[in-house]
């Protein structure tokens, strides 16, 4: 509007992002201090990669309100895609990973177009179908994918060096193990994932996405092409999953169609809801918790499943908005 704009900085400033990012960086840098052995690193790497997928999925589910129960398909597509590119076409891992991501983007665009006009549970079911189909293809095309027995993946090579998790490397005079290098990669990847996600959410694009969740009609009338935006965020979150999947493949050295399974998709969505929908930091915590619980429960043997189910229920009952948003609300200062 044309009227003069009085200076009113305190009332309208957007909440700053950097404190959160700084805290994340500090945590990621400090975690190695607590890592007693390489197995701890292994867990942290897995958490970081899973968290990155969840951060991407959260854009779709938490912010745009479109539920996907088939996201593991994109994760698997990234993992298998890059592994096969390296294996069959002699492409080095990093470009292979990017190529796979591009392929996944195209795939997500193609399948997203028809199914994203579905709503609610119907969308869940359609995405679930995608996941199921992906898992079936990976299982059946065993000539290519190794079938249910899985596929060995060549390790990541950086600057011409193969990165072995058992190797050790000299870096600026410091000797670090391959696993530690991997931790650096995974943590860096997570950090970038978060940074990009926060940027996105805090942009007009992100606002439009959240509006999809709030009121699709309001968004449309404001000029948001809802179909296009849903498709966009679907593709973005698929790319997140693909990249994390590729890294996971390189790191683990072996992948099976299980990573495309319904169970895995459910695990991803559970992480998002557990951590807190529409809370980027929340889903990181969600990933950490969901992956750590089974590690703590191994001692209970038979009771593991019972306890896992009970913990999941309890958290969701007492923190229905998810961990971080519920806690944030509890500690929030009284609003002015």
């Amino acid at each position: 509007m044309s009227e003069a704009i009085p200076h009113r900085p305190s009332r309208v400033r957007a909440p700053a992002k950097w404190p959160g990012l700084l805290a994340l960086a500090v945590v990621l840098l400090a975690l190695p201090l607590f890592a007693g052995n390489d197995y701890h690193y292994d867990l942290m790497i897995k958490i970081a990669l899973t968290a990155a997928v969840a951060v991407g999925l959260n854009l779709l589910v938490g912010y745009a309100g479109q539920i996907s129960l088939g996201h593991a398909a994109f994760y698997a597509a990234g993992a298998y895609g890059s592994a096969l590119l390296v294996q069959n076409y002699e492409i080095t891992p990093v470009p292979a990973m990017l190529l796979a991501a591009a392929g996944v983007a195209v795939l997500a665009w193609l399948v997203g177009k028809p199914i994203l006009h579905l709503k609610g549970h119907y969308l869940s079911m359609a995405t679930l179908g995608l996941g199921v189909i992906a898992a079936i293809v990976l299982n059946n095309e065993d000539q290519l994918t190794g079938g249910p027995d899985g596929l060995p993946v060549a390790p990541l090579s950086l600057f011409g060096h193969e990165l072995s998790v058992f190797g050790s490397y000299d870096l600026f005079g410091l000797t670090i193990t391959g696993t530690q290098v991997w931790y650096g990669i995974a943590a860096g990847f997570l950090f970038l994932s978060v940074l990009f996600a926060l940027n996105l959410i805090d942009s007009p694009l992100g606002r439009a996405l959240r509006a999809l969740h709030g009121s699709e009609i309001a968004a449309q009338v404001a000029g948001v092409d809802t179909g296009k935006f849903k498709l966009r965020v679907f593709v973005i979150s698929a790319v997140y999953a693909s990249l994390a999947g590729s890294l996971y493949g390189y790191y683990g050295g072996f992948i099976t169609p299980n990573i495309a399974s319904f169970t895995h998709s459910i695990e991803l969505i559970t992480i998002v809801v557990l951590g807190g929908m529409a809370s980027t930091y929340g889903v990181i915590l969600g990933a950490a918790i969901l992956l750590l619980i089974p590690q703590f429960l191994t001692g209970f043997q038979e009771l593991e499943m019972v306890l896992f189910g009970a913990i999941l229920m309890a958290v969701m009952i007492f923190m229905p908005r998810g961990l971080v948003p519920t806690l944030a609300r509890r500690f929030q200062k009284e609003a002015p």
Partner: protein, 261 residues
């Protein structure tokens, strides 16, 4: 004066019920054009047809001489048309200010990469948008809710928030569906000023309202709908005196009118 919006023999049928039937009228640029009529007369349906939420069964709508046939709702904001809703459409997962900022959507960069990297240009534009939208909230009279979450606002304030959001898209033509519902006398008076000032900026206003005091005091032209058809059209004075309108809509004794008389 030229017709900014023209509705030609528009019809909409829902399983045998003609919600709008053979309706033609024109809205001239810069005017405040009110549409009144009994409940269920088809006013909201008409808005939904104009803004592309419904596809007409017959007839069409032109904006600035351009046919809107087959346009999707989201294609209208760029053409300069925006609206509010009788059944509120507020994004309850966002703050009040963000709801208004959503209205500026079409003026801001949406590129995926621009957004991912949050380029400075985008950041600047967004900051400015924020200020402007806060200003708009003040303008429509819900400035005290700038920092509120939309879900924490009372009904009356939400109605105004919708107006602010619609204004944020800097429309040429603004369709308001019962903006005064839920406002008291004083608040309605304030709203009248807001609408006046909107019109003064050259924005054409199409107003659906049951508050006759507001309608009669502000409209340049009034269209009366009844059972989806045009019952009458004219200046407020003409309409007030029209016996058909009194019969079908106003009633013999209009208490609100009397209150102002």
């Amino acid at each position: 004066m030229t017709a900014l919006l023209s509705v030609d023999q528009l019809g909409k049928e829902f399983g045998g019920v003609h919600a709008v039937e053979d309706l033609s009228f024109q809205v001239e640029k810069g005017r405040i054009h009110s549409i009144i009529g009994p409940n269920g007369a088809g006013k909201t349906t008409l808005f939904n047809l104009i803004t592309g939420l419904y596809q007409p069964s017959s007839g069409g709508v032109h904006l600035n001489g351009r046919s809107l046939a087959g346009h999707q709702p989201h294609e209208l904001a760029p053409l300069g048309m925006c609206r509010t809703f009788q059944n509120l459409q507020i994004c309850m997962n966002m703050t009040a200010l963000e709801n208004v900022m959503l209205g500026r959507h079409r003026h801001l960069k949406q590129g995926t990469f621009t957004s991912l990297f949050k380029l400075p240009a985008l950041r600047r534009a967004d900051r400015q948008c924020r200020e402007e939208c806060a200003e708009l909230m003040e303008f429509v009279g819900c400035g005290q809710y700038i920092q509120h979450h939309a879900s924490a606002m009372p009904y009356g304030a939400l109605k105004r928030l919708e107006i602010a959001r619609a204004l944020a898209s800097s429309p040429d033509i603004l369709l308001l569906d019962e903006p005064a519902a839920g406002l008291n006398r004083n608040e309605t008076d304030a709203l009248r000023d807001v609408i006046r000032r909107i019109a003064d900026k050259g924005i054409t206003v199409v107003l659906v309202e049951h508050d006759m005091k507001l309608v009669m005091s502000i409209s340049d032209q009034v269209l009366v709908l009844c059972y989806g058809r045009k019952l009458a059209e004219g200046t407020p004075e003409e309409i007030r005196a029209n016996p058909d309108v009194i019969d079908a809509y106003l009633g013999n004794r209009n208490p609100r009118e009397e209150a102002t008389a």
